[in-house]
């Protein structure tokens, strides 16, 4: 099935309580699949087509703030509209899942695939000092697997989680093993797991208020320090990445999502020509695998950050490498997906690999 369809099926299967979204290409299959599956008749999951992305993200704020596992999905311009709500979620520590099946920008851009929202996803995206936990799937299988993972992490840390996909992974059809059915949490389980949520004040407990507002500077600073402490914990515990043939690598490609698939093909071609290239694929874009890239930069002659954009993740790669080895970027924009051959040529040119120029 398509990556977008896998997201919808995984949501129903992982005990998701509600989906709120607005149609936009190339991800409308998520809402369409949910509407066709009618999970409100089986698991009781709510599915609602909202009036806008702005309303959708605020429905996620409301649902997550009330302790429920809720999600929305959109594509780049729609996710841009959601940034205010995501900042409010971060400030009020509301869990929830946002799926971005990226298309090219800026502005209305194109409906073709892109990875141009890396900055937006990994730098907060809205106002204030905050991060969103970002997972980058590179296959339909991971589209399915990351839904539950994103919810788990989001509720564990009370942080909005994002699945940063792209038009390739969203639209490509692959075999997928859907996760086993997990029931939605009962009211008792929600009250136990989310004692902070606005679920209605039971007995004499203090009232629960979901808010990002605090007018006293000292209290607001304290809240911000608490958020920063949480981000530190997440950085220490939740970095995820995959390595392919890095043990003996002389050159390293860093790529995520669909770009990592292209890189894998390029690496097998390069290996057959005797060039030892490895791949590091960040699975969490925030927190970023800074330490591992740092270690690998001691080993390799050069690192190429391969992205379907003008060069965004390359900044994080450079911050990890700190000049230990040359770092270059290769990518395309406008909805054009580079080929493995183009990537090989870029690598040869950037690191003067003569064996490839012959």
């Amino acid at each position: 099935m398509k990556g977008n369809e896998a997201i919808a099926h995984a949501a129903i299967r992982c005990g998701c309580d509600g989906y709120f979204g607005y149609p936009i290409t190339p991800q409308s299959e998520i809402l369409e699949t949910l509407a066709a599956e009618k999970p409100w008749e089986t698991t009781g999951m709510v599915v609602l087509q909202a009036e806008s992305e702005v309303a959708s993200i605020n429905m996620i704020y409301g649902g997550g703030g009330a302790g429920k596992r809720v999600m929305t999905s959109s594509s780049s311009p729609g996710v841009a509209l959601m940034q205010e709500g995501i900042a409010y979620m971060a400030g009020a520590e509301v869990p929830g899942l946002i799926v971005n099946v990226q298309r090219g920008g800026p502005g209305l851009g194109t409906i073709q695939p892109s990875q141009g929202d890396y900055f937006q996803a990994t730098r907060g995206g809205g106002n204030g000092d905050y991060y969103v936990l970002v997972l980058a799937p590179s296959s339909v299988q991971e589209m399915a697997d990351f839904v539950d993972l994103a919810f788990e992490l989001s509720f564990k840390y009370r942080i909005p989680a994002m699945i940063l996909s792209d038009g390739v992974v969203g639209q490509v059809m692959e075999k997928v093993v859907l996760p086993p059915f997990k029931p939605r949490r009962t009211e008792e389980e929600i009250l136990r797991e989310c004692p902070w949520a606005s679920t209605g004040r039971k007995g004499n407990r203090p009232i629960n208020v979901i808010t990002s507002l605090e007018l006293k500077p000292e209290a607001m600073e304290k809240h911000n320090l608490h958020l920063q402490e949480k981000y530190k914990t997440i950085r220490a515990n939740e970095v995820r990445y995959e390595e392919i043939q890095t043990e003996d690598a002389e050159y390293l490609i860093v790529a995520f999502g669909s770009a990592a698939r292209i890189a894998q093909k390029a690496i097998s071609d390069l290996r057959s020509k005797g060039i030892r290239v490895g791949l590091l694929r960040p699975i969490t874009l925030w927190p970023f695998p800074t330490e591992r890239i740092q270690q690998l930069s001691e080993q390799v002659k050069g690192i190429l950050s391969f992205e379907i954009n003008a060069g965004q993740m390359v900044e994080d790669v450079r911050l990890a490498v700190e000049g230990r080895c040359p770092v270059a970027h290769y990518g395309k924009m406008g909805g054009i997906v580079p080929t493995p051959d183009e990537l090989i040529q870029a690598l040869a040119k950037d690191f003067q690999i003569n064996a490839l120029n012959s």
């Binding site: 509600g18 609602l48 009036e51 309303a55 704020y61 009330a66 979901i210």
Partner: protein, 254 residues
Amino acid sequence: MENIISPENIVYQKPKLLNDTDMHYCPGCSHGVVHKLIAEVIEELGAEEKAVGVSPVGCAVFAYKYIDIDWQEAAHGRAPAIATAIKRLWPDHLVFTYQGDGDLACIGTAETIHALNRGENIAIIFINNAIYGMTGGQMAPTTLMGMKTATCPYGRQADLHGYPLKITEIAAQLEGTCYVTRQSVHSVAAIRKAKRAIRQAFENSINRRGSSLVEIVSTCSSGWKKTPVEANEWMTDKMFDFYHVGDLKNTVED
């Protein structure tokens, strides 16, 4: 005196849900009275454990400091979207929003209209004082023609500013609304009627009868640059002339 204050002589008590925190509202403001009515109604309905309020951006942003129930504080204008999700996910709850005219009828018009049109089982309490109170008295979507504010200092003119929006009349046209009413809290009789309206709206939410909108035509003495007494007079004189008080729609059988 001390002999008079005894349980058998008590004819009125502050609702328990309204706590003792000093309110930040100006003298003569309608918010305090409406807060009290909300607390009374929730208490009378015995709905404390399933009530969730959504507070706006505006003067009532801190409504959660005064009424001891669970709350969510919304981004400017988005309260009906937040309430939509809470009610759909907790269908037995009493879910209401508390919004001013700038929040509900300007920046949040889309969320307001669509939540009401979908027939979300929520109650919207709409405080209309025809001005932006918290930011210091700027023009609102509900500012009357000719009315002076900080951003229309020579009075609202149609060619420059457009016309005041009667969003409650629009709400009454929508299939999803079951109860739409306009009230005020400037006199004891008006307060009693407003309380009945809030009670019906809250019962509609609990019993999932559709969307309810209760507009409260309100005073803003600070924003209007009037004394509380003058503000009440100006409201009954000028505001009621344009915003007619009474039920606009009620599809619910008593």
